[in-house]
Amino acid sequence: MKQLNFIDKIKKIKIDIRAYTLIFALIVIWLLFGSLTGGVFLSSRNFSNLLRQMTIISFLAIGMTPVIITGNIDLSVGSMTGFISVIAAYLQAILLPTFLPGLFPALSVELLGIFSTIITIIICLLLGLLIGMGQGYIIAYGGVPAFIVTLGGMLILRGGLLAVAQGKTIVPIEDSLRVMAQGYLTKYPGIIIAVIAIIILFLVTLQSRTKKTQYGLKIKPLSYDLVVTSLFSAIVLGFVLVMNSYRGVQIPVLIMAIIAVMVTYLTNNTRFGRHIYAVGGNKEATKLSGINVQAVVLKTYALMGLLCGVSGIILTGYVAAGTTSGGMNYELSAIGGCVMGGTSLMGGIGTVFGALMGTLLMTSIENGMSVMNMSVFWQYIVKGLILVLAVYVDVTSRKNKSL
């Protein structure tokens, strides 16, 4: 048994290496662009831009992860983001201003604006949820392949977008919505949030240690856990300080971080999360274990739809308008980010963290090349090459492992 333990250790190290390859690649690319652009790429200003660029795609990549883990795909997310974005703009610029003041004549313009934003957010999230559930229902219960259903959804929603926008750019957008996508936290709230996050990190670590002792499981030395937690804390704090040296932590980045933590928790710590991985790993065995496979698939699409809603709202706030080209090709960037981050299109494997890292890598390449003033065509070609290369490396590393 001792010998086998040894093999297991090797395997574990290998898996960890796989997870770190991406971070390593990211650092290499950052340093590369940093030197090519004479440090401009690594400035806190550019870093801040980079993160904002990735947020809208990252919502989609986070939602796409459970979908791909169950062995499905969603091609409609780009169109859905665009559609919801236009709906948000339509609500804010055209529909709500026509009757909100009439309904609440006593409210000030500012308050009406906030009110309008709240209504817009609720409607957009509900809309995303509903569209996602509709597609999920057809896939899970109707038995139509996900590729077809969401390809259809992609066309229908793009059509819907054009119908609502009528070829025009819809403006104006309320300030309160724009803040959600463009605003910064000032210095101290940023630090306070970082401190809260760090406290939570330590509490979780300590709680897991007490639990382990309670069930008589082996625990790592306290010093080890403390060092690891401190390291993560340093990263969080360092991030906030770097951001503060420019204009502060961006609100959309904060939203992204919160959603990423929530979905990570969902996939790792809940029954639903377990079921997602099981369905992707072996649908038949999961069904025979008494799990409602169809409901699991439906829920992943519902979550995807909800996140398309978030993405659409942030897109509108960021562009400060509803545009006809909104969300174009986002589905490919989101899927690319997931796959780059180690999510297997065969299902059963993948993490939200990986998807975020993958998206960050793709965005870094895009951003670095535009900072270098390279033509757009190069950006497409390089992104395409790197995507294929990343999956090739992944596939070969898996092959070697199985031998």
Binding site: M1, Q3, L4, N5, F6, I7, D8, I10, K11, K12, S208, K211, K212, Q214, Y215, G216, L217, Y265, N269, T270, R271, R274, Y277, A278, G281, N282, E284, A285, T286, K287, L288, S289, G290, I291, N292, G348, I349, L403
Partner: protein, 511 residues
């Protein structure tokens, strides 16, 4: 006299990281012999087969292998080289294209023709010729997907023979076959032998060695224990050599005292795709009883238990009573809710999520035990899983090991552990010891007996008559979707079961 040996293996040693799979293995195989190779799971059989089949090239192991007095030196990780040398391997699960016909499969990649255009008439006539020459009864124009596993293996063998192969490795060819198909395969192998083909034959069913092999080589822990002439040995002696200890009984003894009725099935019928798969089946099960189900493959035995488990949804008619109360089971969820668990026939396809860790497989149907709507108590989960892993002595480096890397027997234990954790009232086991070594089989038998003693009602399907006879209190025999008889342990013999399983005459008895 050296040239009478077609294959000589000399001091072959093969290491994997941290473990020695083969250690100084040497033996010889005579031309035209059927040479048995046996050993428990993990004894090194598969590794040896992979070396001979060219999966592990020459530089990955030490030692020498001579084939027809020429040293084998494969350089790539592919079986092409081995086939060129004249060595072909037939696996337990045929590796063929299900959408193609027999002929197309046999000549896949070597289609007769000119400039890329296939000469279909030559392909079909060649196919016919091969099938006739070796007396393989397979319809040559049939699509692979319409054939039974047994017939598909015939096609695999035909494919090998069509390439002028004179040396076949059969890796557990019978583990997915019914008794009748096994008999047929045995006949066919004798036929091949008469045609000068040499075979290495691997099986977990030791009796088979005594029906066809000339010599048997026994492996244990990567070493050759002995090579013996089949006529000079016995099943008991081979088992002793395999496990390295005296194994007196194949089946553990138990005193059965079945309690009150726990399950009653009345007039259960299943129709799927306009076909009656199960017709009017009537039986009952008592607490602490082991009801064996015997029948050939395709007799409806698997369909019967999966129907009880809810797999056929609304296509089931008839009544099921649990502890006297009528119940409707439309899905696996319903069945589990009522305390029925099923260890399915194909553990890899239906029982396990192979790419996941051991503990996740064990806890999959039982997550509610240690979770609320918001979170899973992972530590409680690990603790519980560890308990079952220890109880069943699952041999795994840790609970975090990927299930795929365990041996077949241990994978089956994981499936059983997962269902034991759900505390079933009725446990259905569909051929639970298929492809599992003797030692682990015995452990599983013990476990089943222990459960029965604790009052669990057990239904156990088996392809091996001896197993059904050795384990069951009563034996239900099925044929073409019908129950052709239920025998008490004391009245049951192999002959009576086979008669019921194959005879058309319906001698239905039930009380």
């Amino acid at each position: 006299m050296k040239d009478e040996y077609i294959l000589r293996i000399e001091n072959v040693t093969k290491d994997f990281p941290g473990i020695r799979a083969l250690s100084n293995v040497s033996f010889k195989i005579k031309k035209g012999d059927i040479h048995g190779l046996c050993g428990e799971n993990g004894a090194g059989k598969s590794t040896l087969v992979k070396i001979l089949a060219g999966v592990y090239p020459n530089n990955t192991y030490q030692g020498k292998i001579y084939f027809n007095e020429k040293e084998l030196k494969f350089t790539s990780y592919s079986i092409e080289e081995a086939i060129k040398e004249g060595i072909a391997t037939v696996y337990q699960e045929p590796v063929l294209v299900p959408q193609m016909t027999v002929g197309e499969n046999i000549f896949l990649g070597r289609e007769p023709g000119d400039k890329g255009i296939i000469n279909w008439s030559k392909l079909f006539s060649d196919t016919k010729e091969i099938l006739n020459k070796y007396k393989l009864s397979v319809p040559f124009f049939a699509k692979l997907s319409t054939l039974s596993v047994g017939q598909q293996q015939m096609v695999e063998i035909a494919k090998a023979l069509s390439q002028e192969i004179k040396f076949l490795i059969l890796d557990e060819p019978t583990s997915a076959l019914t008794e009748a198909e096994v008999n047929y395969l045995m006949e066919m192998l004798k036929n091949l032998k008469d045609n000068g083909v040499t075979c290495i034959y691997i099986s977990h069913r030791l009796e088979e060695f005594f029906r066809i092999t000339d010599n048997i080589t026994i492996l244990r822990d990567g070493q050759v224990v002995n090579t013996v002439k089949t006529t000079d040995t016995s099943v008991e002696k081979v088992i002793t050599m395999m496990v390295g200890r005296e194994m007196k009984k194949r089946f553990p003894v138990r005193d059965s005292k079945p309690g009150e009725k726990i399950l009653e099935v009345k007039n259960l019928s299943v129709s799927a795709q306009n076909k009656m798969v199960i017709k009017d089946v009537l039986f009952d099960l008592r607490k602490g009883e082991i009801l064996g189900i015997a029948g050939l493959m395709g007799s409806g035995r698997t369909e019967l238990v999966t129907a009880i488990f809810g797999e056929y949804g609304k296509h089931v008619t008839g009544e099921i009573f649990l502890e006297g109360k009528p119940v409707t089971i439309r899905s696996a969820r319903d069945a589990i809710k009522y305390g029925i668990s099923l260890v399915p026939e194909d553990r890899k396809k239906m029982g396990l999520v192979l790419i996941q860790e051991v503990y996740k497989n064990i806890s999959l149907p039982n997550l509610r035990k240690f979770s609320n709507a918001l979170s899973i108590d992972k530590y409680k989960e690990l603790k519980e899983c560890q308990k079952y892993a220890d109880d069943l002595s699952i041999k795994t480096p840790s609970l975090f090991t990927i299930t795929e890397s365990l041996s077949g027997g241990n994978q089956q234990k994981v499936v059983i552990a997962k269902w034991l954790m759900s505390n079933p009232k009725i446990l259905i086991l569909d051929d639970p010891t298929r492809g599992i070594d003797v030692g682990t089989k015995y452990e599983i038998y013990n476990l089943i007996n222990k459960l029965a003693k604790n009052g669990v009602g057990i239904i156990m399907i088996s392809s091996e008559l001896e197993e059904v006879l050795g384990m069951s209190d009563r034996i239900m025999v099925m044929r073409e979707g019908e129950c052709t008889g239920i025998l008490d342990r004391k009245d049951a013999t192999q002959e009576r079961i086979m008669a019921l399983a194959t005879n058309l005459k319906r001698s239905y008895r039930y009380n």
